[in-house]
Amino acid sequence: MILFDSISAKEQSSFAIRKVIEMIEIDANLIKAMLRNGKRIDNRKSDEYREISIKPEIVQQAEGSAEVRLGNTHVVAGIKMSIGTPYSDSIDKGVMSVSAEFVPFASPEFDSGPPSEESIELARVVDRAIRESKMVAFEKLCIKENEHVWMVNIDIDILSDDGNLIDAASLAAAAALMTAKMPKLEMINDKPVASKEERADRIPLTGIAVTTTFVKIGNVIVADPGLTEISAMDARLSIGTLDGKLCSMQKGGSVGLTVEEIEQMADMALEKGDELRKELEKLVLN
């Protein structure tokens, strides 16, 4: 319908059709019926992830950054570092803060406004996977005990939500941490100052934590749920892992899980977590 001289009527109609197809809602019952027969809506195996693309260092202004696509889910993580004061209960450690925001075009359901419950949970789950795994050597981010430490701000921009934001965001945060360069430290009048444009060392890491998310739909457990699977899910479990250990968990969804189901997901998380870590390491070796 766009009145633009170079676009023909035919083009316009193909365009309109695409929009209609997109609007057909995939039925949650269909998904459940297919799963009972061992099929996912996009033919993936139950523990198979969608195609993953990870591009680090896409924002020059940020100390670290990465764009992650997980199928049509699309997030950007950016890291900004500055110098601040430590918390009084950990005077010799750097400080980290993780935020996540839906850009309003990420999803038709989204309305602009204060941070949603979902983005708060997302940020906190990503935060905990990093913090609890001890993957960042925060004790090395102390500049002067009780006075100056590095502050690591990780911001997640959600550009497109097609399901499983938690894993996408956690991959993006990890990739940004792995490739970030800290601002050069300068001393001005005996006070440490972060150089605005000069960068120096990498952020000290002890390993790479990733999150793997599973949903239970009926009696079936699948990994990396897409948006339509999430709309049909009963329960969700996101599990952070690092080097063969579990480091954080968060259950979602309004149905419970049995002990056995949780144990099964923990087993799968350790396996899939290693695969995702390999993807990330490939990236750094490049």
């Binding site: 250990k245 579990l246 309004s254 419970g256 002990v259």
Partner: protein
């Protein structure tokens, strides 16, 4: 400068408990005059009060559901409940706890009995000494029952964790800051379903499975105390 704190001595925890002991607990139902249902739940030095308002009309109206009630939960900490005064008003942590609390309770409530209404659950932490979300959920389940909301079961919540390498039940006090792992769950006993699960800290897969079973056993003990509190309340009413 930092002193080493020993959390375990002679197979006893710093407050004298054994590894699988809960702190002393107290549960009372019907403690608030002007709420539709209410309960008090104390475990050690953690005190939660829950009040239920509803079912009532949904405001704003566009949030109502044609086929069922919506459940709303709000977890709050009194400003004086913590060592450092906590500013009034919800922060991100409180928002998240409100959300996981809601999901922990939803499975047991017959929401479909009250279409187009809201059931509001408010939890106030008067004193915070670890496992506040668990205490809040335990109080909330009792308050829902007190409000006469039809339920399939109660929900019982308990934490487990690791301190100095040892798996223990119901983290408290110094164990909270200096322990290695915190693991709160909520449990729907009749169905043996875990309705809340969070984990912070590193565990091997084997350790994890032990902790999970220990937390469930703790929730089962709390379930008995909750039922006792409910019976007392209704007994008292019958005797009036």
């Amino acid at each position: 400068m930092k002193e080493e704190i020993k959390l375990i001595k002679n197979n006893k925890r710093i407050d004298g408990r054994k590894f699988t002991d809960l702190r002393p607990l107290e549960a009372k139902v019907g403690v608030l005059k002007r709420a539709d249902g209410s309960a008090y739940f104390r475990i050690g030095n953690t005190i939660a009060i829950a009040g239920v308002m509803g079912p009532r009309k949904v405001h704003p109206k566009h949030m109502e559901k044609a086929d069922r009630a919506i459940l709303r939960t709000e977890y709050r900490m009194a400003p004086f409940s913590t060592w450092e005064r906590s500013r009034p008003g919800p922060n991100r942590r409180a928002h998240e706890i409100s959300m996981v609390t809601r999901k922990a309770l939803e499975p047991v409530i017959f929401l479909e009995e009250f279409p187009k209404t809201a059931i509001n659950v408010y939890i106030e932490i008067l004193q915070a000494d670890a496992s506040t979300r668990c205490a809040g959920i335990n109080a909330a389940a009792l308050a829902l029952a007190d409000a006469g909301i039809p339920m399939k079961d109660l929900v019982s919540s308990c934490s487990a964790g690791i301190i100095e390498g040892q798996i223990v039940l119901d983290i408290a006090g110094q164990e909270d800051c200096h322990g290695e792992l915190d693991f709160p769950i909520a449990y729907y006993p009749k169905k043996k379903h875990i309705t809340l699960l969070q984990m912070d800290g590193i565990a091997t897969n084997e350790q994890f499975k032990k902790i999970l079973h220990l937390a469930v056993s703790g929730a089962e003990k709390i379930y008995e105390e909750q039922k006792k509190a409910l019976r007392q309340k209704y007994q008292a009413e019958l005797n009036q």
